[in-house]
């Protein structure tokens, strides 16, 4: 079992986590689309802290020895998922920037030609 004081610490940490994310969302500093994974991760972690019996069952299934280890593994798993999604977002944006740059260059040429035709 997770010691009671540690559980209190973790619950306080979880509350801070949600307050910060919701604050950023409210400020529109975060896009909800890209924050969903953070919220889901927090929710799962929160449930596991509040209901440690569930944590015990799950980590037995995976063969993890220690409760805290189980919690860490879940946290690391979520972090890897979030990083992967960030890399995928960066790649997609890279593609969009490329298309924009190419279209911009083609438009730029068209504008130059039109200015030339107008005799500027």
């Amino acid at each position: 079992m997770i010691p009671a004081t540690l559980r209190v610490t973790l619950i306080v940490a979880m509350i801070c986590y949600f307050v910060i994310i919701l604050y950023f969302l409210k400020q529109k500093a975060l896009n909800l689309k890209y924050t969903l994974l953070w919220l889901v991760a927090g929710l799962v972690m929160g449930i596991l802290i509040i209901v440690p019996e569930l944590l015990v069952i799950i980590i037995r299934i995976f063969g993890i020895q220690d409760n805290m280890n189980g919690l860490f593994i879940f946290a690391i798993g979520f972090i890897i998922m979030i990083l992967l999604s960030l890399t995928s977002i960066a790649s997609r944006q890279n593609r969009k920037i490329r298309t924009l740059t190419q279209e911009l260059a083609i438009l730029d040429k068209r504008v130059r030609e039109l200015e030339h035709e107008m005799g500027k």
């Binding site: 490329r98 740059t101 190419q102 911009l104 260059a105 083609i106 730029d108 040429k109």
Partner: protein, 243 residues
Amino acid sequence: MKQEQRVLVIIPAYNEAENIVNVVKHMMETAPQYDYLVINDGSTDDTCDLCRRENFHYLDLTINMGIGGAVQAGYVYARKYDYDIAVQVDGDGQHDIAYLDRLLEPIVSGDADVVIGSRFLEKEGFQSTLSRRMGINILSGLIWLVSGRHIMDVTSGYRAVNKMFIKIYSEDYPMDYPEPEAIVAAIMHLGRVREVPVRMRAREGGTSSITFRKSIYYMIKVTLAILICRMGYGIRRGKRVDV
């Protein structure tokens, strides 16, 4: 009808201020019947100023995107203005414009979809260094393994494509070091890829984009890119695209 095919020569240039004027002027003298388009890939030297001063046809990419993004911009342009054939020629003067017609011939006659100018077929002209030839041979073997086609000069950036591949490449062209990967993509789209012998020169000025230190990274990146590109098409190959 076949004589009326519109040809666009794409000349990507990144920091090629030393060469670009010579290359384009040579192009305009040797093959004035074809349109050309210089693509300034966010150069930090005065490549762009030179193009403006000389009144060349050029695209000015505001961000440096690497050779892949620059060449793709040319294909997007070719598609937008409905060209029938697009030819890539490096902006550093390595590729001899005199061989342009040799590259175009199989496409104009409808015998090939993608034509690659190869310096190894007749082993004439600049043959590159031994270590680079080894690297090219390894990649060539890898492409043969994944696609069953023998292409000798897989890194040659001197190539011509027909309308079908203007469309395919304008939608999806590999980034970073695109040449070998683009061949795999062409074969996977059931394109008829052909090599014709050309003579290449050593660079006239400036420095090559691939330094010795980068060559290890180059080999790893390109090998992975070829394998992933091949995987993307699965066992069944892609379909020919009608244009």
